[in-house]
């Protein structure tokens, strides 16, 4: 695997850039989206997990947005409202200890006792993002099942060959292979798959099905005993987030386009004069008034009871 030496952005520079201003942040993010090595690694990893190139880039965008948010949360822990455009004040000196703290919190791997390379960081996040999505998205699971079902030459030959080497007949080996398929979706939905080569995961599953055939309904996976019954809070949290996102999108859709643009520009830190020019208000004062009214309208659209229900979900 390639290391960070091929990426011309150090972590310190990246953290500074994300906290500096919109143009500097965008330049840094643009470098990452256009980096061949990083893109190739991410696409290759996603394809091994049964995803497409499109899935890979969507996952990468999720990671980039989360990275921006995480850095801002660590930089401004006391700020009451944070958004994607929370930056240092221009005059403020950027304290080196703070940057170091952020760098350690985000990029240091405690288990390995070393800092992750940028590729390792992205690959780790993408694996987690993909396995989280597989848990809650039936269509994606189906995509992965099809990905495995299509590989009938090399994969099946290896699995059947392994079974035969363990002393099984051809028909027993075929039976185990098909049992593996039946188990696979349940495991993708559960807490057993954590990203990585999904065909390798399927091979291990088939082999472990045999080894655990006395309790074939709950096979152990290598090094992951009894994970299936473990309560998965991250999945619940993701489901709540998805529900909340749907509600927010619904309320936003009821605002006019001009209102949405005005609020977004305000949130992105543009001056009222700039907002007036970009969103087509007569002048800065009218833009300010429109912004305030749009905010009021949005608050009226919010159904507090529906929101509270998602919190309890």
């Amino acid at each position: 695997m390639n290391t960070s030496s091929t990426i011309e952005t150090t972590y310190d520079e990246l953290i500074f850039a994300i906290l500096q201003d919109e143009a500097t942040r965008d330049d840094a993010l643009k470098k990452l989206t256009q980096h061949d090595t990083l893109n190739e690694e991410i696409v290759a990893c996603t394809k091994l997990m049964g995803g497409t190139e499109n899935d890979a880039f969507n996952l990468m965008d999720d990671v980039l947005i989360d990275l921006v948010k995480s850095i801002q949360q660590l930089a401004f822990p006391n700020k009451k409202i944070l958004n994607l455009n929370s930056f240092f004040d221009k005059e403020e000196i950027k304290p080196a200890p703070l940057i170091k703290k952020i760098r350690t919190a985000i990029f240091f791997d405690k288990n390995e006792n070393k800092e992750k390379t940028i590729v390792e960081f992205f690959i780790g996040k993408i694996k987690k993002g993909w396995s989280d999505q597989l848990r809650i998205n039936e269509d994606l699971r189906q995509q992965v099942m099809n990905f495995i079902a299509k590989d009938q030459t090399d994969l099946k030959r290896r699995i059947v060959g392994k079974m035969k080497s363990l002393g099984h007949t051809n028909s027993q080996a075929e039976d185990i292979y098909q049992q593996g398929f039946i188990q696979l979706e349940r495991l993708l939905k559960g807490n057993s798959y954590h990203g990585g080569d999904v065909k390798g995961f399927f091979r291990s599953l088939c082999i472990n099905l045999k080894l655990n055939e006395r309790r074939i309904t709950k096979p152990d996976l290598p090094g992951e005993s009894h994970h299936l019954d473990k309560h998965d809070h991250s999945m619940e949290l993701q489901m709540v987030k998805n529900e909340q996102k749907k509600l927010l999108e619904n309320w936003l859709s009821q605002l006019g386009e001009k209102c949405r643009q005005t609020l977004q520009l305000w949130n992105d830190g543009f001056s009222m004069k700039e907002i007036a020019e970009k969103a087509g208000h007569e002048n800065a004062a009218k833009a300010a008034l429109a912004r305030f009214r749009c905010m009021g309208k949005l608050q009226e659209l919010i159904d507090f009871q529906s929101w509270k229900k998602t919190d309890l979900a």
Partner: protein, 263 residues
């Protein structure tokens, strides 16, 4: 309830524009007034909503930068679509593909599909060279389901009655990537490359399809059948040829070689 005074105060509080005394008063009132408390909660939610707008704007920038880097909109990416998670399976798809048991049974037939890949009759076209490179459908996708039109469609398709297959598929009310793929294949065998290409394009416009790679490849081949000099198809072909991880890498290399020999 007139909410405007609340909104102004709440904004001042969150934007750190209150004096110490005002802030203390606000926080004390927050504890005693359910109305102010609810309005404050709503304000926090509305800020989350607005941040979602900023997030979508940033997401759109990320996609634009990647597009510009690639120089073209790549075949696999409907880049302007912001949602990572594919749409839920439609009814027709779920009829035959949601059952894992069926897939397990289907799996045992796939060796046949591999053989079929090599043995399938290449469509006789005016362009046998390109037709050879076409990605045929696999047997695992030809299981019947609960929809009578689909069952008739696959029967006709298997019997190479492509016009009838098209007619039955078009009777199915909810189209999805499976119906579109088989429509594309049927049109291809009938040498209606334009309609075939349109159906593959629909699949490419839908994120998360399991037919994406085949549809993407066949989209290139049909485009080249229509016009050998199709610039986008040639660029896409070069792109696959340049990446050994692509499923159609070997085919793309061979096709390019053959096309060069033709010139």
């Amino acid at each position: 309830m007139n909410k405007e005074p609340y909104l102004k105060r709440i904004e001042s509080y969150f934007e750190e524009q209150m004096s110490v005394e005002e802030k203390q008063n606000f926080e004390s009132e927050l504890k005693s007034s359910p109305e102010l408390s609810e309005a404050t909660e709503k304000y926090k939610i509305s800020r989350q909503a607005i941040d979602l707008l900023s997030e979508e704007a940033l997401r759109s920038k990320l996609k634009d930068w990647r597009k510009k880097k690639n120089g073209i909109v790549t075949i696999n990416e409907p880049l302007e679509k912001p949602v990572a998670i594919p749409k839920p399976a439609t009814k027709v798809r779920s009829m035959w593909s949601n059952s894992i048991r069926k897939m397990a049974v289907a799996a045992s037939f796939i060796l046949l599909a591999t053989a079929a890949y090599f043995l399938i009759d290449a469509p006789t076209s005016n362009d046998p060279l390109l037709a050879y490179f076409y990605a045929p459908e696999g047997d695992e996708k030809l299981r019947s389901g609960g929809n009578p039109d689909w069952n008739l469609a696959i029967e006709e398709f298997n019997n190479k009655n492509y016009k009838q297959a098209i007619s039955h598929i078009q009777e199915i009310k909810s189209s999805n990537d499976v119906t579109e793929f088989y429509l594309g294949q049927s049109f291809f065998y009938l040498k209606d490359y334009k309609s075939a290409k349109e159906n593959y394009q629909k699949i490419l416009d839908r994120p998360g399809s399991s037919y994406r790679e085949e549809a993407g490849w066949n989209h290139i081949v049909t485009s080249l059948l229509i016009d050998r000099n199709d610039e986008v198809a040639n660029l896409r072909l070069d792109r696959i040829r340049a990446n050994s991880r692509e499923s159609f890498y070997a085919k793309a290399k061979e096709l390019k070689k053959q096309l060069r020999m033709e010139e």
